[in-house]
């Protein structure tokens, strides 16, 4: 009994239990749910939103939020593919500029929130529109196609039966979680989100912590957008549309507080997994397509509720 109580006390257990239950339910209805191809497809599908979610977890723990991530991902994909295709730039240079655009967007978000005092919700909503508009200005709404073979081959490669994008995502999860939990910089992020004033008095440069978290999120959004561009072999102007809600949902389901100061990257990973398991599981089990949308909402709320129960039990 004590053993289970200890297990239940692990922060991610509240999300892991519903994840396990859903997986077993879907598997018992249709065994093909856990076939290697199916699992690989689920993991690949959560990769791009997942990469951004790593940055968003850091940002939300520090007390911020970024709604512009989807649009920034789309803009960076279009900027880099436009430079490579229309301007004939080398692949490396195109990718570097794409990444820089993401970092600059994050920096601007951070400066607007921290220096100008504009609420994060409004500042990043503004950036969402700006980035989406610039995206369409650049490509005129048309997909940029084809992209260089070098990038196409990278996008199509299947290391370990998955994709390079997924490998990068897993490395980011491990690195992001370790840095957040085990390094001084990670503790500064928790301290800033937990109580900004106390953190400042303790000598932490809270402004820089938050700005750097915005830059990290912007940079990862750029990376996700460009990786999807490589995988699709086209700079699609629609890349990233609606991602912001998926990213925030995964982070919150994963146990990160909307008010900052609490959360883990591992939790976010499990949050992403639970969303993907539910989405794919409902298709595999043959649930009516309209009911699937209802079920996704209900199951997400249930998962968070189970996590809240766990926290209360712990107290």
């Amino acid at each position: 009994m004590k053993y289970f109580r200890n297990l239940w006390a692990i922060p991610e257990a509240g999300i892991f239990v519903p994840l396990l239950v859903f997986t077993l339910v879907f598997f018992s209805i249709n065994q093909s749910f856990l076939e290697p191809n199916s699992v690989a497809a689920m993991l690949r599908a959560m990769t791009f939103v997942g990469i951004i979610a790593v940055g968003q977890t850091w940002l939300m723990i520090s007390g911020g939020i970024d709604l512009s991530v989807g649009s920034v991902a789309g803009l960076c994909a279009i900027v880099s593919s436009w430079l490579m295709k229309a301007q004939g730039w080398p692949v490396e240079a195109g990718l570097l500029v794409g990444l820089t655009v993401g970092l600059v967007a994050g920096l601007l978000n951070g400066l607007m929130v921290v220096r100008l005092g504009i609420p994060a919700f409004i500042a990043t909503l503004g950036m969402l529109y700006v980035a989406r508009g610039l995206n369409y200005l650049l490509c005129q709404g048309y997909p940029i196609y084809p992209i260089p073979d070098q990038l196409k081959n990278f996008g199509r490669a299947e290391p370990f039966g998955l994709s390079w994008a997924f490998v990068i995502f897993v490395l980011l999860v491990i690195l992001g979680d370790f840095t957040l939990r085990r390094t001084v910089n990670g503790r500064k992020v928790y301290a800033t989100g937990g109580n900004k004033e106390v953190a400042r008095i303790a000598g932490i440069n809270t402004a820089w912590v938050q700005i750097s978290c915005y830059m990290l999120t912007g940079g990862l959004a750029a990376l996700a957008g460009m990786l999807l561009m490589a995988q699709l072999n086209v700079g699609q102007p629609e890349i990233g549309v609606g991602w912001e809600l998926d990213v925030i949902a995964a982070v919150v389901i994963g146990g990160t507080s909307l008010f900052g100061g609490a959360g883990t990257v591992t939790g976010t990973f499990l949050g992403l997994l639970i969303m993907q398991v539910v989405r794919s599981g409902l298709v595999v089990t043959g649930v009516n397509t309209h009911w699937q949308t209802v079920a996704v909402g209900v199951i997400m709320v249930t998962a968070v509720w189970v996590d809240l129960l766990r926290r209360k039990t712990k107290i």
């Binding site: 249709n30 093909s32 749910f33 076939e35 191809n37 199916s38 690989a40 497809a41 689920m42 690949r44 599908a45 990769t47 791009f48 939103v49 989406r132 508009g133 369409y136 005129q140 709404g141 048309y142 997909p143 196609y145 084809p146 199509r156 999807l228 995988q231 699709l232 072999n233 086209v234 699609q236 102007p237 629609e238 890349i239 549309v241 609606g242 991602w243 993907q276 989405r279 794919s280 298709v283 595999v284 089990t285 043959g286 009516n288 397509t289 309209h290 699937q292 949308t293």
Partner: protein, 329 residues
């Protein structure tokens, strides 16, 4: 202090005068008698969408050839009320000789009725509608979705030898895509009773999620031999799903974008249904011109939607070259 107030009042007067001057003359929303209006409006939500861009260029080309000015109005998302507001502003300017409205949504009906009553010709491209169902509209120019759905059923049935399971995915559930799915399923079952047609699934517009959903459909139904997607992104979706699942199906999707045509050429996708996007948009300008010149037109100008396979992608690539050249111009 008095001097400052006087200066402020003077400055305000100058600003007000500049504002009134800048706004130009107020118009009542109807044309001025004796002045020949030479502008056609193209109203369309999601105006940045690649397929929509093509239609806008076609309409602009049509207007240019006929000696009209073309103005494209619309918003970047699919917000109907915001698009209607823009259309109302355009009508209020009073310089419209005609308008083409890209919609299959009944929310537009009251605007079309109100504007039609003012005597402005309104063409509805792309979305078929029953005659008399949209008061104020002058006519419709489009292909017949029911007809291309039937053709897709015939072609897919032939390609799979009349047996197996067929999946259907839709970008979203709207009147046109629902109709295509229904007619396709019915025709396929009538022609090939041994074929099982699955209920349509929503693939959405986010590529990774759409591919993952298509893979799940393939995993859940090991006997799937073909798939129809009723949306333009469906080619990428089903090509990706085949690659990820290691399965091969006869995939058919919509719209001849360059990416889609290349997927047909390399065999990832069996065929595309070529909605006559260029012809219906260019044709809308021609029909508006006929209406302006007092000619009668039939309610529905029906256009064919060819089935594009590996053998006939050439003309569509040439058409895309033309569109891209127009964009550069």
């Amino acid at each position: 202090m008095k001097k400052t107030n006087t200066l402020l009042i003077l400055l305000s007067c100058i600003c007000a005068a500049a504002f009134v001057g800048g706004c130009g003359k107020q118009t009542s929303g109807t044309s001025t008698p004796g002045v020949k209006l030479k502008k056609f409006y193209w109203v369309q939500p999601l105006k940045g969408h690649p397929v929509h861009q093509m239609t806008q260029i076609a309409f602009t080309e049509g207007c240019r050839k006929l000696g009209y000015q073309a103005e494209i109005i619309g918003v970047d998302n699919d917000d109907i009320s915001a698009t209607i507001a823009l259309a109302e502003q355009a009508v209020a300017k009073g310089d419209a000789a005609g308008m083409a409205v890209w919609t299959g949504n009944p929310s537009w009906n009251s605007f079309i009725e109100k504007t039609g009553k003012k005597g402005l010709p309104i063409m509805l491209p792309h979305f078929p509608a029953e005659e008399g169902s949209i008061p104020g509209a002058s006519g419709v120019i489009s292909c017949d979705p029911a007809e291309y759905a039937r053709e897709a059923a015939r072609e897919i049935g032939k390609a799979i030898g009349g047996k197996g399971t067929v999946a259907i995915t839709q970008g979203s559930f709207n009147s046109t895509e629902n109709l295509v799915s229904e007619v396709f399923a019915k025709t396929l079952q009538d022609l090939y009773p041994a074929v099982k047609v699955l209920r349509p699934q929503e693939e959405g517009f986010d590529a990774p999620r759409a591919i993952s959903r298509a893979v799940s459909i393939l995993q859940a139904n090991p006997d799937i031999v073909a798939a129809l997607s009723t949306t333009g992104n469906g080619a990428i979706t089903w090509a990706g799903a085949q690659r990820e699942s290691g399965r091969k199906v006869v995939a058919v999707a919509m719209d001849y974008t360059r990416v889609n045509l290349d997927l047909v050429r390399d065999g990832s996708v069996y065929a595309l249904i070529g909605q006559p996007l260029w012809d219906e948009s260019y044709g809308a300008a021609e029909l508006l011109d006929q209406l302006v010149r007092g000619q009668k037109i039939s309610w529905w100008t029906k256009l064919p939607a060819p089935f594009i396979t590996k053998d006939n992608v050439g003309p569509y690539l040439a058409l895309l070259d033309k569109v891209e050249a127009a964009i550069k111009r």
